[in-house]
Subunit: 460 residues, 2 copies
């Protein structure tokens, strides 16, 4: 792969400038206001795939945002690797907390990235990461060192649950047929400790409404006699966890796979500094389910979090009003063997029972996703481990990610193939938060590593 | 007072049109965006006082919004009645729930007001009500039937706590000197059952903040290991009430004056239809402190309500984020003998103790107000009762209002005079809510009744 590495080295600046073009388009899939930007991003991705040398590039219609497809079939007898990624991004708000405009990418030096990091929404999640795959392919392809067949599937609804893919994937099994799927959308432990995610958490996301009176009312005239949806919703949410930080939904833990003492001991070997962790996010103390470590709480244990809550008067000053309704967005992270549909139903059945008879409760499911596990003896895992160990000069470790990539479970079900989560991000990338950033080190290390993964998988 | 009543009858339409001019100015004191409108309203009020025949009309500067003053001293040996009212209004939001523009007054027929009601923010609270006083004065004055001296003090900060008056009133004791204060800013039981508020609840209003991490974070990466300010704030709010609906703040009830069995029995005579009440606000069931009736819960018992709450992602769709901070506006309605400053301190001391060590809690006091009681043998009360009983043709009853008019306690302390709460509104006016309205019946009945109050008070 020497020519490939030389090509990468010679084109570093161009690769970065091209990524900036992608980052400048605000492809926020959650907010309809950005509809056209999301569509424009899909076209841009297709353009880059063509320039990289992909054949049959297509912006495929779905019931939601399009999937960008492209391929290079060099020899049907060789293995086929499907690259999955997503070109949509999280909303940028709270926008006022960004130190630079979220859609005007710039490179700034940081403590973690003295050589510089790219600051922009989507720089790490996932534009910066899937673009490494596109550029690695370009390098292998243009130097004649592409060792196997490759297919690209870059979607635009990952941040809102990849809902259209549940139709698209089954409808395009032949087109998407592959031996292994590689996804760069996760983190490594640190810049000098490579790792591969072998586990992802599932997700159940709901929106709840509590309705009291048929209008906002004067808190003096009615206060004390009518239900206050904000007080009621607060009390209901409080009841979702017990004193030990365990979730109270009946049956919630029934299907959770408990790890063996050996597995937990193995996990405890992952380097982790609690004080450093608390400092990095600025909290006085950690908080979570009793009896589990922070790494366990964020990987092998299911969780429930309020992601947003609102109601009543939230403007300047004081308004003495009792809101007619209160709202909250609540998501649950699930672990292997928990079924998101079952969990959503358990929540939907349980939550209203926490309310007094004075209010009306509505639960609306948003989206869900299954958890995922990749065996560490999988051929794809071994190829990724070998590639990373080589380029980082240190043995790559298996880890579990706390996040969710719903599509991975769908791929396994519909296409029967495993996914290798070979991501190059860091927790400090603060994806989904203001000032999301992606290290230049990580960006280029990814482009350098990916070709070796293709090589070792093909040889494997 | 025959000439006075004739004058009123001959000028009904003009009175209504003049009120509309006032209602068209959005004098929202809580929102700085309406600053100029509030000031313009003060000038408009001064204009109306002059036209009505008041002398020494003045728009008095304060540290906040101005107080409009005017007077008519016909004979120093006669009693002096001070009319208090406020020209500021509550914010109009949620604006989308208004059936007509909040600051474009119109008259519409309703089930309760077949003869029509004025729909506009401030129509009942308090522009429509204090304007009755201005027009009653004009009628008495222009017909030479004004029986005593009159002073007007119309302020612009009632909806935000009348904070400037704590300086203005002590600084203007001589100017405001009076024998009795009359305020039209409360409700009667119904159109055929006149009543006079002899009690008002006090108020303590605070804003709370719960801060977790130093930024919004990915709920997958951090969920389960870090404090979630929205979950934490919900749990803290839930702990502010116990199973019986009693407030858990230590010492909160210590100073509450419990009513005697006789007083409660007297109160129970006030006509009240629970089913009608539930229907009027559209709730399936009432909710409140165990052991008290709805009328008691909204008058003689203190309460605690969340008036607004927000945090995290509240936009369209789903965002898997853990908010850095969560916020709530919380107000407590107080009853006679409870000191708002003491209650605010009790809350401020107690609330942070409900939080885990993982978060930082901030409590910011907004404003407060003392409760008030008027003895039913007071000369002012008796004059109001006689006037209302005459014009309604039915004996007026004493009631307690759930709302707060902080200025009343201040008047008693600084000027040593009692206030008669002779309001003509109805609960169905939905003040502070969308579609606030004030019946034409109530507006004209008020203008008709007020001159008799002046007469009987002067004679009494």
């Amino acid at each position: 792969m020497n020519e490939t590495q030389k090509f990468i080295n010679d084109n570093k600046d161009r690769f970065l400038n091209e990524l900036f073009e992608l980052l400048r388009i605000p492809s926020v899939s959650a907010d309809p206001a950005f509809n056209q930007d999301v569509l424009n991003t899909a076209d841009k991705v297709a353009e880059f795939l063509k320039e990289a040398g992909a054949d049959n590039v297509e912006v495929c219609e779905t019931s939601g945002y399009p999937v960008v497809y492209g391929e290079k079939i060099i020899d049907p007898s060789k293995p086929t690797i499907l690259v999955y990624g997503h070109y949509d991004v999280q909303p940028a708000d709270p926008i006022e907390l960004w130190e630079s405009a979220p859609f005007e990418p710039i490179v700034k030096k940081t403590e973690i990235h003295p050589e510089g990091a790219i600051f922009a929404r989507g720089s790490a999640d996932d534009k910066g990461q899937f673009f490494m795959q596109v550029k690695a392919f370009e390098a292998m392809n243009k130097t004649g060192e592409l060792p196997c067949n490759i297919k690209f599937m870059i979607e635009g609804e990952e941040e809102v649950g990849s809902s259209s893919l549940s139709e698209f994937v089954p409808a395009n099994k032949e087109k998407l047929k592959n031996d292994i799927i590689v996804i760069s959308d996760t983190e490594i432990i640190s810049k000098d400790q490579p790792s591969i995610s072998v586990g992802l958490r599932g997700l159940s996301y709901v929106e709840v409404e509590v309705h009291g009176a048929n209008m906002d009312m004067h808190s003096g005239v009615y206060g004390g006699a009518v239900p206050n949806p904000l007080n009621v919703l607060s009390a209901m949410i409080a009841k979702l966890h017990d004193e030990d930080g365990r979730i109270t939904i009946p049956g919630f833990y029934d299907d959770v796979l408990e790890l063996s003492a050996e597995e937990r001991a193995e996990m405890a070997k992952i380097p982790f500094d609690l004080e450093e962790y608390k400092k990095s996010v600025g909290i006085a103390d950690i908080q979570g389910e009793k009896g589990y470590t922070t790494i366990e709480r964020t990987s092998i244990r299911p969780t429930l979090d309020v992601n947003g809550m609102w109601g009543g008067y939230i403007g300047a000053g004081a308004k003495t009003v009792i809101a007619a309704s209160a709202f909250a967005k609540i998501s649950m992270r699930l672990v292997p063997n928990q079924d998101p549909d079952k969990i959503t139903k358990l929540f939907t059945d349980y939550f209203p029972t926490l309310a007094p008879s004075s209010v009306r409760v509505v639960v609306k499911p948003h989206h869900g996703g299954h958890s995922y596990l990749l065996p560490t003896d999988d051929k794809g895992y071994l190829a990724a481990k070998k590639a990373m160990t080589q380029t980082f000069g240190k043995e790559a470790l298996p880890t579990r990610s706390g996040g969710s990539i719903p599509i991975v479970a769908l791929f396994e079900k519909e296409l029967g193939s495993k996914s290798v989560l070979m991501g190059f991000g860091l927790n400090s990338d603060v994806i989904h938060s203001p000032n999301e950033n992606y290290g230049l080190f990580n960006f280029y290390k990814g482009i350098e590593t990916i070709p070796y993964f293709f090589k070792y998988y093909t040889e494997g």
